[in-house]
């Protein structure tokens, strides 16, 4: 198969599976799951350094920034101001201009506040950030985010951590049709087939955290996701057959005994 690389703003991504690093038992398990997933992109949160316990381990001792692309996020931010503050801190602490932008609207659904998200995307893109906004599966806001300078748009498949899969594949399809930037499903994937569905629809990548970290065996699930994403991408590129109501024989009728 010819090379099928994902390139965003000149950055080459080897994997179309992006990994979240939350909820793992410990950093050792995180590192093993990331390794098993074959991913080269990990998203991380921005938080205060633990001042009182300086012996607590650091995530970056386990996830080597030379080996993986570190994608900081603004997880936990409910306002534009907070999201901007976390983004700027992340850029100073990190090694790139990439930011997975979240402006959360409500703590029950964790749906994004799209008005704040659009505003923050616009400001950060102007400041030279490579912005990956987490948004709803809404084609209009996806387009608006693209116009505001988003490097890629990350619609949810279902609420964060819900594992409900791709709840509205038709919307994702509409988003994909209109998009000029890569579309990366962020949130909602529950198991391998969900990741495959996202990729079969034509998404450019999938970001997964809870489905792997929360699985009984996260390392095996990471591996399952790796193949699920590859399978979905290959199927998309190969072009599936149309769905039909009735059977079509796949063996020739010629040469039958009657």
């Amino acid at each position: 198969m010819q090379e099928d690389k994902l390139i965003i703003k000149g950055i080459e991504f080897k994997s179309r599976l992006w990994i979240g690093t939350g909820k793992y038992k410990d950093f050792d398990e995180t590192a093993k799951a990331v390794e098993a997933s074959g991913s080269d992109v990990v998203t991380v949160a921005v938080r205060r350094v633990n001042i009182t316990d300086r012996k607590s381990p650091n995530l970056l001792d386990y996830i080597d920034p030379k080996k993986y692309k570190i994608l900081p996020n603004t997880a936990g931010c409910y306002t534009v101001e907070d999201a901007l503050r976390y983004s700027r801190l992340a850029r100073e602490a990190g090694v790139s201009d990439m930011i997975k932008l979240e402006v959360i609207g409500d703590d029950k659904t964790l749906f994004p506040d799209n008005i704040g998200l659009l505003k923050a995307t616009e400001i950060l893109a102007k400041e030279g950030f490579i912005v990956f906004p987490y948004t709803n599966d809404d084609p209009i806001i996806a387009k608006r985010l693209e116009d505001a300078g988003a490097a890629a748009v990350m619609p949810l498949g279902a609420p964060i951590g819900s594992g409900l899969g791709i709840r509205n594949p038709y919307n994702i399809k509409i988003i994909l049709e209109a998009a000029k930037v890569p579309i990366i499903v962020d949130a909602g994937v529950g198991t391998a087939s969900d990741a495959t569905v996202a990729m079969e629809l034509g998404c450019d990548a999938v970001l997964i955290n809870t489905a792997i970290a929360g699985a009984k065996d996260p390392i095996s699930m990471a591996k399952a996701m790796k193949y699920a994403v590859i399978a979905g991408r290959l199927a998309f590129k190969a072009g599936r057959i149309p769905k039909k109501l009735y059977a079509t024989a796949s063996s020739p009728l010629e040469g039958m005994l009657i």
């Binding site: 990994i19 979240g20 690093t21 939350g22 909820k23 793992y24 950093f27 995180t30 998203t43 991380v44 949160a45 921005v46 938080r47 205060r48 350094v49 001042i51 300086r54 650091n58 995530l59 970056l60 920034p65 570190i70 900081p72 996020n73 997880a75 936990g76 503050r85 700027r88 801190l89 992340a90 850029r91 100073e92 602490a93 990190g94 979240e102 959360i104 964790l110 987490y134 964060i160 951590g161 962020d186 949130a187 970001l207 997964i208 955290n209 809870t210 970290a213």
Partner: protein, 67 residues
Amino acid sequence: MIIKLNGQDYKTEKQTLSELLSELAILPEHVAVELNLRIIKRADLPTQTLKEGDTVEIINFVGGGNY
């Protein structure tokens, strides 16, 4: 002097942010420092002085996916 460090009162005699970081055994790589809501570039940490009542935030990356 007493400063507000990551949300808590902290007593230090260190004069600059660099010195404060080494007192805390924190390597400047992979952290970002904010002084009174202003981000201090890594290169400026050695020259940025501290005064009584300053608010200092030191952040790093932790495990996280969404939210």
